[in-house]
């Protein structure tokens, strides 16, 4: 198979990236600083992430399209304001998740950001409901995220007026006479922005951000950052066998749509009313031992009660952290559980997510 490269590939190389294959793309896992330093740079200053491997799907806007999209997404799109974004899912009839996504209502179109590994399958699913001619998976665009407390000031130096954006809202801006679209969002638990821009200006844009004080960050730190922030990684923490209710993402199902029909609605409604047997929770081992994906979880009587779906060492919380699915009867905060790591049972406690929460001085961006 031909490994794809993003428009920023040469820039990654210039910054001594170590590459890994991710969803068919050659992506930087880390640069010369290493994962922990890159993680801390993002938490304390500002980091730049190339997420151009993700799908950018554009759908022409009309009332009819909105109706059809509501048949496949559990989100209230009718009340979505121009330039507003929402977190949503593509689901199976049984409530399992095909992909998680961010949908933004732009003036004349919807923009949907899809996971790289899922985007082709997502397109097929959407095509089952929507006309091909209304859909455009735009491969001429890059997607860059800038995250961390200094990002607002740094990006403002490159693109005037971005700091007025509110969390989960976007707007059109220009960079070197090219139209770009910026939303205030991210995947790190930090204040930040995601910028959709033409491939041809991607390198010069990122170079400007670097010259203003930001730093390229690889996928390795992206993973420790998102896990500390309690955010799900598709294919690990959510997949076709987990529903949004089981994943504790019920908040993303619009309340006024619970009684509507959309793919998976029957199951979602049932799960909300009757409860679920397993639930995604945060888990904190009592030692520094890392409980990685597939680690078995046991109760005090040695019954297997669940599995870890993501686990790492969180540099900002200075502790081992994990999330996973656990039987509902053991999902309460502070429940003592045991994780089987290399044949030993490591004591751990169920905890609230996120592991890391920013305390904002100014209440402008509610991340």
């Amino acid at each position: 198979m031909n490994i794809k490269k993003t428009a920023l590939y040469e820039l990654h190389k210039k910054h001594n990236a170590k590459f890994v294959e991710f969803a068919g793309y050659s992506m930087p896992i880390q640069y010369s600083e290493g994962i922990v330093k890159e993680h801390n740079i993002t938490r304390n200053k500002s980091g730049i992430f190339d997420v151009s491997h993700m799908g950018q799907l554009f759908i022409k806007y009309s009332n009819d399209i909105t109706d059809k999209l509501q048949e496949i997404l559990p989100t209230d799109l009718k009340n979505l304001k121009i330039n507003q974004s929402k977190y949503s899912f593509l689901m199976k009839e049984n409530g399992g998740i095909y992909d998680d996504l961010i949908i933004t209502r732009m003036k004349d179109q919807y923009m949907i950001i899809l996971n790289a590994a899922c985007k082709q399958n997502d397109l097929q699913i959407i095509k089952n409901t929507l006309d091909d001619q209304n859909l455009d998976m735009n491969n001429n665009l890059s997607l860059v995220a800038i995250q961390g407390p200094e990002s607002k000031t740094i990006l403002e130096n490159v693109v005037s007026n971005v700091s007025k954006l509110k969390f989960m809202n976007g707007e059109n801006f220009t960079f070197k006479n090219n139209e770009i679209y910026i939303t205030r969002s991210g995947y790190t638990g930090e204040d930040g922005f995601e910028i959709s821009l033409p491939n041809k200006v991607a390198i010069s844009f990122v170079e400007e951000l670097i010259s203003k004080g930001s730093t390229l960050i690889g996928l390795g730190a992206r993973d420790t950052l998102r896990l500390e922030a309690g955010l799900c990684l598709y294919g690990h923490d959510i997949n076709e066998n987990t529903s949004p209710v089981e994943a504790n993402l019920k908040w993303a199902i619009s309340k006024n749509r619970i009684n509507d029909n959309f793919i998976g609605s029957h199951q979602i409604k049932k799960q909300i009313e009757e409860g679920v047997s397993k639930l995604r929770v945060g888990i904190k081992p009592e030692t520094r031992v890392i409980a990685r994906e597939s680690t078995k979880i046991f109760d005090e009587k040695d019954n297997e009660i669940g599995k870890v779906t993501s686990g790492t060492f969180g540099p900002s919380v200075n502790a081992s952290i994990a999330m996973g699915y656990i039987s509902n009867s053991h999902s309460k905060k502070d429940t003592k559980v045991y994780l089987e790591v290399r044949g030993k049972k490591v004591p751990a406690n169920v905890c609230d997510l996120p592991f890391y929460k920013k305390s904002y001085v100014k209440g402008e961006a509610n991340v």
């Binding site: 922990v36 390795g220 993973d223 520094r288």
Partner: protein, 126 residues
């Protein structure tokens, strides 16, 4: 480190009398990335040459640490358990893993010298 020997599993051992000090090489730490967890054998336990004698984990993955020779664990370096980042900072010095009372000094003959190891490390990571 002229009396230091190296294993193909990227451990080093320096002999002082009957006791060998064991750690992992700088090359190993560079391959692993930031180390965030270390587990050591128990003091007083016996370990067999090429057997597992600990674990190190980076943010990405876990790796076993093997002992290059057999013997009894007489001392462990608790400071790298408490602060595993020391392993990246000084792998072939202060961040040693454990000390062994050697069972059979001739096992050292199966190991590489510095020059051989450097060549091995270069070839296997290319």
């Amino acid at each position: 480190m002229s009396n230091t020997k190296f294993s193909k599993e990227h451990e080093w051992i320096t002999l002082d009398g009957e006791v060998g000090t064991i750690g992992i090489t700088k090359h190993a730490t560079e391959m692993l990335g930031d180390i965030v967890f270390a587990e050591l054998p128990e003091k007083g336990s016996n370990v067999e040459k090429d057997g597992t004698a600990g674990v190190v984990e980076s943010t990405k993955a876990a790796s076993d640490v093997y002992t290059p020779v057999s013997g009894e664990v007489v001392e462990i370096n608790q400071s790298i358990v408490d602060d595993p980042s020391k392993i990246n900072a000084d792998p072939e010095g202060g961040a040693w893993f454990f000390k062994l009372k050697l069972k059979d000094k001739s096992e050292l003959d199966t190991l590489m010298n510095k020059e051989e190891y450097d060549k091995f490390a270069k070839e296997t990571s290319a």
